[in-house]
Amino acid sequence: MTTTAVPVTTRKDWSSDQEVRWCPGCGDYSILAAVQMLLPDLGVRRESTVFLSGIGCAARFPYYMNTYGLHSIHGRAPAIATGLATTRPDLDVWVVTGDGDALSIGGNHLIHALRRNVRITILMFNNQIYGLTKGQYSPTSEVAKVTKSTPFGSVDAPFNPVSLALGAEATFVARTHDMDRAHMQETFRRAHEHDGAAFVEVYQNCNVFNDGAFAEITGKEVRSDMLIPLHHGEPIRFGAESQRGVVQRSDGRLEIVDVAEVGEGALLVHDEQRADPGLAFALSRLANGPHQPTPIGVFRSVERSEYGEEMERQITVAQDRRGVGDLATLFRSGSSWTVD
């Protein structure tokens, strides 16, 4: 909107005056801090930034940001964001959501926003539980999970959010976790840079209703052996000594191996820009829940025309061809007759 230089800001400028009211110890605090500390580095303006949310613990996020914000209704944030982003391409539109909001009540809006490639950045806090309603199982909860609404264990097969996003034709899909600010910030930065819909799954600890859900893979001591960092153009390997890696077998299957056994040259080189999402999908299936070595980072980042731009282009073409709309001409676009 303005052409003056973007003012220098600090975290304080991006924090609203509202008291943050998540449970003490909630993973949401570290995600909020990561975002508030990242924004001053992104070269963006507060007045051109909008945080949008649905319902749930994560959905309180906009109240804590000193930007424009809209806390809407359960599951609908991607739809609302679509209307905003397509009419206001000058804005940065962030959607903050949770596993229940995005994948259960709002699943339909999420997949359609992704396939349309609307320019929005979606941060989905996945804690595998319903927090705000106090402890029911969510669409990412593991089978047999005992919760208030599943006293005998859940019989629902969970979603793998990264697989789901890839299946929904998303052009940018990534995963990070609340225990690593630097990784979160790098992932959010990449998502923000993406010209289209960006989906980031953030493993987030709910210390009240599902404490330690990701501890087996995100804990500081276990992290190097349990998280598989994805770097574009580099062989996929992990472990304290980078001693393990991922290979693709001749039948297409991915497998975790000891690098010493197969040799470095045999490792799969990560290519987030592959047009075919098949390999990214296979990577998303490497771990069956946060108990096995789990890839994090950017799974897929490809270019495809952005929804709002395409909409705008059709308008420009129509105006070039027919001139800017004129009401008097519109009224006479059919056959008219005159009575004297």
Binding site: T2, S16, Q18, R45, R46, E47, S48, T49, V50, L52, I55, P62, Y63, M65, N66, T67, Y68, G69, L70, H71, S72, I73, R76, A79, I80, A81, T82, G83, L84, A85, T86, T87, R88, L91, N108, H109, H112, M311, Q314, I315, V317, A318, Q319, R321, R322, G323, V324, G325, L327, A328, L330, F331, R332, G334, S335, S336, W337, T338, V339, D340
Partner: protein, 626 residues
């Protein structure tokens, strides 16, 4: 005046023609063309397309019958007519499905070729009605439409099976001759429409001419008829349906407000044509978003409104159900939003292609919590244009969702519309917030999203992009003024009152009741809303003109709030009749609001009132006899 020596042309002042056939027979197109030719001749007209929900129900069955009724006249008319004077029936099912509404003495033109045993059985006829004397009360013309059409198309090299499909143009040609409509405009239209399929175009043209010539030469008809041009106010006219008028009204409203138009919509009968029309008009900068569902349609419109656009969603009853929660959000957000409900028969899927007015109470009360919003209703197809502008004016000025009610009859019905002067359209001021509106205790300035305009009680509208006006809004209750989340009970009650007072206060900003009571001392009052306008007014006028009874009429455009003087006016009448295409919804609202002993006249048959039904109800109330 005569067209030929053999055929005198009789002057008539009006005629109602009903074209009926199979869904696949092209009856809507035929009726539409007949209407267009009548418009060119300067007749007044009203149309009523009446078609089944099934795209192609089994051919030849009653379920598959599609009809188009058009009323043309040399004077101002209000409805598609009480009953048709002429029925064109393309097959036995079309005859059987429509015979019940044909008055004795009226004319039936039937496609005799279609009355074979198989088609008669499909239509449920035991005997052929053309031969069993059951139609003796009617003037019946048996015309071999299929075989003549096939014959004339043979020379064009069209196979008989394909030629058969042109028989609707034969029927159109015949009726055009009968009512002295020129066929040249339709030939031009065919040439353009079928430019890519010249053989089909040729077949249609030949069928049209053959039908016209048949009337001229067949010695079947004693005379043909002329309906003279109606007297219209000077000006330029187009024939327009309610859905097109509504779409154009939205474009004009956005223009007049200087706002980009964003439509979030999911296809639904009978509202989809608004989406279609707006998606064609990209030169106006219109963004149309065909959403994944009804909720996303309204959600995206709310997002666009937050960004400073004119956010609109269009739907019909089932879609309005799904949008309820989002509309409640918009009430709390206090953002301008337009919800267009083109009503159809309900509940549930109900009667998708048939008209009804049964969503009024849903519009009024169909949300949880205390959630009032303004309601505007269109009364004729062309009035949809002005109603869309008025609904937008209220939404923008009062920062509120507004429900605009149309219905299936208005949506598809057409009438001549005198084009307005663009310069005369009302201007709508969005009045965006430009600067902070609050001083904090420490003297710093701030922007408070829920500080209200003392006159309208509307809050400021501050789309993102302005430094210093950053703010957060949402569905949680807001503290009066600051807009911060507040769970305080007294604040909540205050906000409920403020939102209600804001909507109620609109009564000061809309016209007083337009009372039609020429003597000022009418025996009774008839009050209606929406698409019943034409039928009610026609019924009332007949009572005055033919029976000398003094009857007053009010037709409401604003259903919430009502005009400020409505209660006082109702109190003047002992007898009040409320005709509605529902179980008595306005009737209930009037009784609840004003404690008046009004009487409901309900019709829920998927069809509009006929003026005679209004007339009879008035007469019954006045204690007269028919």
């Amino acid at each position: 005046m005569s067209t030929t020596e053999d055929h005198p042309t009789e002057q008539i002042d009006q005629v109602v023609v009903r074209f009926a056939g199979d869904s696949g027979d092209g009856m809507q197109l035929t009726g539409d063309r007949f209407t267009s030719m009548s418009a060119v001749l300067g007749n007044d007209m009203a149309t009523f397309p009446d078609f089944p929900a099934e795209i192609r129900a089994p051919a030849g069955t009653m379920a598959g019958v599609s009809a188009f009724q058009v009323h043309i006249s040399d004077h101002d008319i209000l409805t598609p007519g009480d009953a048709p004077n002429v029925l064109v029936a393309m097959n036995p099912a079309a005859l059987r499905a429509n015979l019940g509404i044909m008055p004795k003495g009226s004319t039936l033109i039937v496609n005799a070729d279609a009355f074979d045993d198989r088609s008669l059985t499909k239509a449920g006829y035991q005997e052929n009605p053309l031969t069993d004397h059951s139609l003796s009360a009617f003037t019946v013309y048996e015309v071999p439409m299929t075989s003549i059409t096939q014959e004339v198309c043979k020379e064009a090299g069209v196979k008989p099976r394909d030629a058969e499909r042109s028989k609707n143009f034969f029927a159109l040609g015949l009726v055009s001759w009968l009512y002295t409509r020129p066929i040249d405009p339709t030939i031009e239209w065919i040439t353009k429409r079928f430019a890519d399929h010249p053989q089909v175009g040729e077949a249609n043209t030949r069928a049209l001419r053959a039908g016209y010539d048949f009337g001229e030469t067949a010695e079947l008809f004693e005379s043909n008829y002329e309906v003279r041009p109606a007297h219209f106010e000077p000006g330029e006219y187009v024939n327009i349906t309610g859905n097109t008028a509504l779409a154009w009204g939205l474009i004009a409203a956005a223009r007049q407000a200087g706002l980009p138009l964003f439509l979030g919509s999911y296809p639904i009968t009978p509202a989809s044509d608004i989406l279609h029309e707006l998606s064609r008009r990209k030169e106006f900068g219109v963004r149309t978003f065909q959403a994944e569902d009804e909720i996303a349609g309204v959600g995206a419109a709310i997002g666009a409104a937050f960004g400073g656009a004119l956010g609109v969603t269009t739907t019909s009853g089932p879609g309005l159900d799904l949008k309820s929660e989002a509309i409640g959000l918009a009430i709390n957000l206090e953002l301008p939003l337009l919800i267009v409900d083109v009503q159809r028969g309900g509940p549930s899927t109900g009667l998708p292609t048939k008209t009804e007015q049964a969503d009024l109470l849903q519009a009024m009360y169909g949300r949880h919590g205390e959630a009032p919003l303004p309601i505007v209703a269109a009364k004729t197809p062309s009035h949809c244009f002005a109603a869309a502008i008025e609904a937008t004016r209220l939404a923008v000025k009062y920062r509120t969702p507004v429900i605009l009610l149309s219905d299936g009859y208005l949506a598809n019905g057409a009438e001549p519309w005198r084009l307005p002067e663009v310069a005369d359209l009302p201007v709508i001021e969005p009045n965006f917030a430009t600067e902070p509106n609050h001083t904090e205790a420490d003297g710093s300035s701030a922007y408070w999203p829920y500080v209200r305009d003392p006159e309208t009680l509307a809050r400021p509208w501050a789309p993102p992009g302005v430094p210093g006006l950053e703010h957060r809004i949402g569905g949680l209750e807001k503290a009066d003024g600051s807009g911060n989340v507040s769970y305080d009970g007294l604040n909540h009650e205050q906000m409920v009152h403020l939102r209600a007072a804001k909507v109620a206060g609109i009564a000061r900003d809309i016209p007083l009741t337009a009372l039609d009571d020429p003597s000022g001392a009418a025996e009774m009052l008839v009050i209606g809303w929406g698409s019943t306008y034409g039928a009610i007014l026609a019924g009332v006028k007949r009572m005055r003109a033919r029976r000398g009874r003094d009857v007053a009429h009010i037709h409401l455009t604003h259903l919430n709030p009502f005009p400020a003087d409505l209660g006082e006016i109702l109190a003047r009448y002992d007898k009040i009749l409320v005709p509605e295409l529902n179980g008595g919804q306005l009737w209930r609202m009037l009784r609840a609001e004003f404690l008046v002993d009004a009487t409901a006249l309900s019709k829920m048959q998927g069809t509009p009132f006929r003026p005679v039904e209004i007339e009879e109800a008035i007469l019954e109330m006045l204690g007269g006899t028919t």
